[in-house]
């Protein structure tokens, strides 16, 4: 192929042209360098000024946390308006100098304007303590890059006096602002406090672990955010929380929003329409997604009755639907006020709660266990019947006690009950009958029946820590008791005074299982979760833990005795329940000796008298022939079971059947409609009934959305 490439025509022959070319290229580059010199060096300060005059500031739109309702739609937990004070690190600088464009503050944090001028003033206006100040300082020192342009919460739910002081002095506090945010409100104070739980600020460790698994949808938790701590607030945190949104505002060097107005004279800034500017910068605002509402299985009317009639200093009450395991009412005393624990609480108040010998934070229904006393005789009876040790017609002669070897176990009736069959043994709570039964079959059949009934295992209510209780058997005593298992231990266990410990929840579910014909249900508190529109997000169905596998005849024999307790003269609760004419109650009293057996909160000397008294139990279901509900009442150190715990149980059962009689209202009312609410997703939905604080919050919220951070 003819490629005539003689060396005479190579690149060398154009030497002059290449030199010219290189010269021109150099010249062109010099033009660019000159231009850059003008822009960056000559006019750099001017442009830096311009760059500080327009910032797109990202603002968080807090999501409304879902409300908590009872089964009829009564709002138990809501959101009320409150103010959080925030700080944007980049704008927290000498107003004369403008914002911190570079991380100068970090190089010499102690001397920065923010730390020397702004924070001390802020601490005074908001009455911050040293811990709170340190937290802010830490955050300021760590903030770098874009984080400096993100506001963080300095203090949540500030009181109105502080807010007034802050507003009056806002000019001296560059970078500081306040935001209306919803704050949690527990409408009924201490009522059902342990069920509902409370919230407080997320810790930095939790923050870190959440950041690691933060999803794309929401910006995750931030410093100053609240998180559910106990009760359903904690158990359903993910459902209740929703996802925060974000909006963008164009702000000036002091963090003040630019107003949408045309400027006079030659425009020096692209700021005539902030909305347009945000659009051009392709920042998409994202609406907040409100959390789901939680519909509890509680009937608040029954709950309030229980709160009213249960007057003991300490103890627990729970009512359950025997056919589903859904809790209708539940309380633990003493209770705390979740409104106080959620937010502003003084150190002394916190201390008094933490040091209260009655330990109000403990959810006694599931978190504490007690000797069951005579309520456990039902377990012994079922074990005896199931093992063939006794039959429904078996009789024992009670002469006031039972002798085993050289020791005598006393019946509570020292004169003796005479001839007692199972029916009367339960009705009179005759100890001797059960000593005898326990002696004949030993401890293990009792333990086996107890486990079937759910004792010794966590009830899994799922809203707080729970205890499994103790089901003593041969192995247990060989392991724990000095000298190992001896027959006498079976006698103690047979009447509920051995090492056996149960939580009120376990006892309730066991009796419910007996009442419903032999199905042990898992106790549940939440019927369903719903979105703000009331559409069902998730429904919870009854969960059966197991079938007891006990003969119907045996259950009936026991129920027969329990019926006599409340309905036959001589029954330990007859004198109370004879006042209830229309409904037949089947139940059992129990008096758990505390002294020498331990249990309950730790003793304090000055309170010895109180803490030495017996625990009083009453557990029952009704109607006896076609049971609907079961109830347990425990009065810590209340004294005799029937005397102390019976009357509140009576009142609650009466209330249940009274409410049942009310026509039509038993149906849950529809969720209150949101007044004039915007379409979902457009703005944070307003929540609350007309005239409630939540509605005012809605208005406040949308004003704020429209005007940005009003000066």
């Amino acid at each position: 192929m003819p490629l005539t490439v003689g060396p005479s025509m190579g690149g060398r022959d154009f030497r002059a042209r290449f030199l010219i070319m290189a010269g021109l290229v150099t010249l062109a580059m010099l033009v660019l360098v000159t231009r850059l010199y003008v822009l960056q060096v000559n006019r750099g300060e001017e442009y830096e000024g311009k760059s500080t005059e327009n910032f797109i500031k990202e603002t968080r739109v807090p999501a409304f946390r879902g409300r908590i309702l009872d089964r009829r739609g009564e709002v138990l937990v809501d959101n009320r308006p409150s103010y959080n004070v925030t700080l944007t690190p980049a704008f927290c600088n000498d107003p004369a100098k403008g914002p911190l464009l570079r991380d100068k503050a970090r190089a010499n944090p102690e001397k920065s304007y923010c730390l020397t001028e702004v924070i001390p003033k802020l601490a005074t206006y908001l009455s911050l303590d040293s811990d709170e100040v340190n937290r802010i300082v830490e955050h300021l020192k760590k903030a770098k890059g874009l984080v400096r342009f993100r506001e963080f919460t300095v203090k949540s739910d500030v009181d109105l006096d502080s807010l007034d002081r802050l507003q009056a002095n806002l000019m001296d506090l560059p970078g500081v602002y306040y935001l209306p945010v919803p704050h949690r409100k527990y409408n009924y104070g201490t009522a059902a406090a342990h069920v509902l739980g409370y919230m407080n600020e997320i810790t930095s460790d939790e923050l870190k672990s959440y950041e690691e698994k933060a999803d794309r949808e929401g910006p995750g938790y931030q410093l100053g955010d609240y998180i559910g701590r106990r009760g359903v607030e904690a158990a359903f945190e993910d459902k209740l929380r929703g996802a925060d949104g974000k909006t963008f505002t164009i702000v000036d060097a002091k963090g003040k929003p630019m107003q949408s107005q045309r400027r006079a004279g030659p425009a020096s800034l692209p700021l005539e329409d902030p909305d347009e500017l945000i659009k051009m910068a392709k920042q998409e605002p994202r609406p907040a997604r409100p959390g789901n509402n939680l519909v509890l299985s509680l009937d608040w009317r029954l709950q309030q009755k229980a709160e009213e009639v249960f007057t003991a200093q300490a103890g627990a009450v729970a009512v359950v639907d025997v056919h589903t395991g859904f809790i209708l009412a539940m309380l633990s005393k003493p209770a705390y006020d979740p409104n106080k624990l959620t937010g502003r609480i003084s150190k002394s108040e916190l201390k008094s709660i933490a040091e209260d010998p009655l330990e109000p934070l403990i959810f006694r229904a599931v978190q504490q266990h007690y000797h069951p006393g005579s309520t456990y005789k039902v377990v012994t009876a079922l074990a005896g019947l199931d093992s063939g040790t006794i039959g429904p017609g078996s009789q024992v002669v009670c002469n006031g006690g039972y002798s085993l070897g050289s020791r005598r176990w006393r019946c509570h009736n020292e004169g003796g009950h005479g001839v007692a069959d199972l029916h009367h043994a339960i009705s009179w709570s005759c100890d001797t009958f059960f000593y005898s039964t326990g002696d004949r079959m030993g401890i293990d059949p009792i333990a086996a029946m107890a486990r079937k009934l759910g004792f010794g295992a966590l009830p899994k209510l799922g809203v707080s820590p729970e205890v499994p209780g103790i089901v003593p058997d041969t192995d247990y005593h060989n392991r724990v008791t000095p000298g190992g298992y001896t027959k006498g231990l079976a006698l103690n266990t047979a009447i509920g005074q051995g090492d056996n410990n149960v939580s009120p929840m376990q006892l309730l579910m066991a009796y419910a299982a007996i009442a419903n014909g032999g199905t042990l249900y898992k106790p549940q508190l939440v019927l369903r979760t719903e979105d703000v529109e009331g559409n069902i997000d998730k429904s919870f169905a009854p969960v059966a833990v197991r079938e007891l596998g006990v003969k119907k005849a045996h259950l009936d024999a026991v129920i027969d005795g329990l019926k006599a307790v409340a309905n036959e003269p001589g029954g330990t609760a007859y004198w109370i329940f004879r006042k209830l004419p229309n409904v037949t109650v089947a139940g059992k009293t129990g008096t758990a000796q505390v002294i020498a057996l331990g249990g309950g909160p730790r003793l304090k000397e000055e309170q010895m008298d109180f803490f030495q008294r017996d625990h009083a139990w009453f557990v029952a279901f009704a109607p006896a022939d076609k049971p609907e509900i079961a109830i347990v009442v425990l009065s810590e150190h209340g004294g005799h079971g029937g005397t102390v715990s019976g009357p509140p149980a009576l009142e609650i059962i009466k209330e249940y059947f009274r409410l049942k009689e009310l026509p039509a209202v038993i149906e849950p009312p529809p969720l209150p409609a949101r007044p004039g609410g915007p379409p979902p997703g457009a703005t944070p939905p307003q929540q609350g009934l007309p005239g409630t604080p939540s509605e005012r919050m809605g208005v406040l919220e949308s004003d704020w959305m429209r005007s940005g951070l009003a000066a």
Binding site: V41, G44, Y47, N54
Partner: protein, 373 residues
């Protein structure tokens, strides 16, 4: 062997020894800076972007290598066919191309989107290099009538690219062709006539060829602050970003204009504004200095070329690089109107990376074989 000039393996090995490695080194340094800068520019919007840029650079390097394994003189025979294929592709784009942002620039080839107008930059260099290589009669310079062939070769693709419409690329193609024609030497009288014709063409283009948005861009270039939120938005924000960098810049990741996303196209056409804001005048000088070194090195390779074809190929490559750098930085700093032109090895994007790497590969090829016959 049919072709005497690559007769033995020893010659090929010798070629590698003579490869202009300093060109590749400079290009790699710029590309590295580009990735670093990109990871700042996109870290709030697309933090993984720099990874895909690295991937493109990897592909680009392979393509660059592929462009060196054959003797570039084979391209003498392939110049017209290659040019023809690319013109056909440009036609195909207009007929059934993939439209994005109001323009039809892409050809959808299964997994890859091809931008033939990018390839045309190379195609143009190839045909003109061949034309001037073969034309041995005008040692004293060309007059306009002598240039009717290059003019025709230029006008067809430029018209097609303008039609897409892609003013920036069309201008680059024309500028590269102009560079090569000027390098081939044009008579002074002819130059004056051409300049007059250009003005005439500009007037004509203004009134009947340019689209409204293109006219608007030029208008706002003349007075950017007349419409700060509209067409002048890019120009103004870009000036603020670069200017506010001052002497030493705000530091990597600290550019407020960059990080707060005031510039939508900051990772492609406006990448220099990120660099200028975060690294200031000093950073800008360093980057421009690197480009200058690269260009001088490319011109050096051209000067060492064994024959006219190689020399003109290298001049074309220098033209492609120079015009991209000059127009892009000029645009970001407000010297030139805002047209869609990328900054070589700094801007994000596969097409841009590949075009530049093909050009560099051709240049390496020319440099490697300057001692071979």
């Amino acid at each position: 062997m049919e072709l005497g000039y690559s007769s033995n393996r020893g010659g090929e090995l010798k070629a590698w020894r003579h490869a202009p490695w300093h060109v590749l080194l400079l290009a790699t340094v710029v590309a590295g800076i580009g990735v670093w800068n990109l990871s700042s520019a996109s870290r709030n919007t697309a933090p993984e972007l720099w990874r895909s840029q690295v991937a493109w650079l990897g592909v680009g390097l392979a393509v660059c290598g592929a462009m060196t394994v054959f003797d570039y003189r084979y391209l003498l025979h392939l110049a017209y066919p290659v040019y023809g294929v690319i013109v056909a592709l440009l036609l195909a784009v207009l007929l059934k191309g993939h439209a994005a942002m109001g323009a039809r620039r892409w050809l959808d080839l299964g997994p890859v989107h091809l931008q033939p107008s990018e390839l045309m930059k190379i195609g143009m260099v190839l045909v003109l290099a061949r034309f001037f290589h073969e034309d041995t009669q005008h040692k004293d310079g060309y007059s306009l009538p002598n240039l009717w062939q290059p003019a025709l070769l230029l006008l067809a693709p430029v018209a097609l690219v303008m039609k897409q419409p892609d003013l920036g690329t069309a201008m680059i193609i024309a500028a590269v062709a102009g560079t090569m024609v000027l390098f081939a030497k044009v008579r002074w009288k002819s130059l004056a006539i051409a300049a007059a014709a250009l003005v005439g063409a500009a007037v004509f283009a203004w009134s009947s060829v340019l689209k409204k948005y293109q006219r608007d861009r030029i208008l706002t270039f003349l007075d950017p602050e007349s419409d700060v939120l509209g067409k002048g938005y890019h120009a103004t924000q870009s000036l603020i970003a670069v200017g506010s960098g001052r002497s030493f810049g705000k530091g990597w990741g600290n550019g407020t204009q960059t990080q707060l996303s005031f510039l939508p196209e900051q990772h492609t056409d406006f990448i220099f504004s990120v660099w200028g804001e975060e690294h200031g005048f000093v950073g800008a000088i360093i980057l421009i200095g690197l480009y200058l070194l690269l260009l001088v090195a490319v011109i050096g390779v051209a000067a060492g070329a064994r024959e006219k074809f190689g020399a003109f190929l290298a001049v074309g490559v220098a033209g492609i690089l120079f015009w991209h750098v000059f127009v892009n930085i000029g645009m970001v700093t407000g010297v030139l109107p805002v047209v869609g032109v990328t900054l070589p090895l700094m801007s994000y994007g596969g097409s841009s990376v590949l075009t530049n790497m093909v050009a560099l590969g051709l240049l390496m090829n020319v440099g490697m074989r300057r001692h071979l016959f």
